[in-house]
Symmetry: C2
């Protein structure tokens, strides 16, 4: 920990960039200068840039995995009006509605009636239990998982058992127990579903939402 400075002396002059467009532009310039984007396939670079922008870490390119065709598939699905299922309210609230190309529904069932009871019955988390509520609506949907490894694991179990195939899985569980493992499982066998994921412990709602936002902008032809 860095010791906090004593609070004294004169108030600082604060010079900082206030213009939203200039902030974005400067951010993307820094990311392009510092990040190793060459290791990311060309069609996935706008996505990688948005992910880096969301977390402030340029080195995530080393852990990023994008399956062949995933970006194209995500763009097509969003353009076609695919619903977006999120494992956490934070993910849903990070998705910028005005960027969505087709007024797509953004759905989080975590707090639906009955989810807690279902979780208890299944001896799992509410995050995982809600996956059951996605049911046949999985077909053609975009799945954005930014919190719970158990949600991603349970989605994979449902796919193994024959559930309808989503268009794309954005797999960004975070943390110490199951996050790395669930993302390795996704990349190792996604049951034919294209995916984007970040190996290791890092992840989170901001990354899952940023992935959707990047694909939305690409779907609207707005680039990064």
């Amino acid at each position: 920990m860095i010791p906090a400075a004593h609070d004294g002396g004169s108030p600082p002059l604060m010079e900082y960039e206030r213009d939203p467009a200039a902030i974005y532009e400067a951010s993307f310039r820094i990311i392009e200068a510092e990040a190793d984007l060459a290791r990311v396939p060309e069609e996935a670079r706008p996505l990688a840039i948005r992910l880096i922008h969301a977390c402030g870490m340029t080195d995530i390119t080393a852990d990023l995995a994008v399956s062949a065709g995933a970006v194209e598939r995500g763009i097509a699905a969003l353009r076609a009006g695919a619903a977006i299922f999120c494992d956490a309210e934070m993910v849903a609230h990070g998705i910028i509605r005005r960027h969505l190309p087709a007024g797509n529904d953004v759905i989080c069932r975590l707090n639906d009636a009955g989810v807690a009871e279902r979780a208890t019955a299944l001896r799992t988390t509410r995050s995982a239990a809600q996956v059951e509520l996605w049911g046949d609506d999985l077909a053609g949907a975009v799945i954005a998982i930014g919190n719970a490894p158990t949600a991603l694991f349970h989605l994979l179990e449902r796919l193994r058992d024959g559930a309808p195939r989503p268009a794309l899985i954005l797999g960004f569980p975070v943390g110490f127990v199951g996050a790395a493992e669930s993302k390795a499982a996704l990349a190792g066998h996604s049951f034919g579903v294209p995916f984007v994921t970040l190996f290791g412990r890092r992840g989170g709602s901001a990354l899952a939402a940023a992935a959707v936002n990047a694909l939305s902008l690409m779907a609207k032809g707005a680039g990064a």
Copy 2:
């Protein structure tokens, strides 16, 4: 980028921890084993553990700054029913309502009527413009900034100009333009307001929300 594995072969067996309590316990055990918590003042350790848990990165203890008395002040404010002002909807939606010790209000004004126009008039971001709407309600409030450097900078400007003092500032802007600078400004001169911050580019809504959740649990005497 790690090449995605080909999708073939037999479906994997998935063995993973499903029990929410066991997941928390295992996570905290790993964090305590791996993180350098000794560098964090004792009263701030439950907070540091929750922050690490939220981002999956044990090394944030190196960049964490907690001003003297900040934890105590935050706990007291939450117990007294302090409102929590958030700069982003993602922060507000990451705050676990059932943990709040006094049914505290959680407020985000980013999408209030007039914020966009105010931002244009002030030639700044909507995130910063909303800070003006916090007005006299700043007094005694807990401020959770998890996204915009401009919001933190503008809050500091308001305090410099004599705005009422919040009880605590949780400063976690993220990114490449202004994030590190805004947090350095907070730590360098917070106008007498206790603070918690994470130096550098890292930060985000999940960390700001986790800080509130940690203080809520401490306020309820539930530890980490």
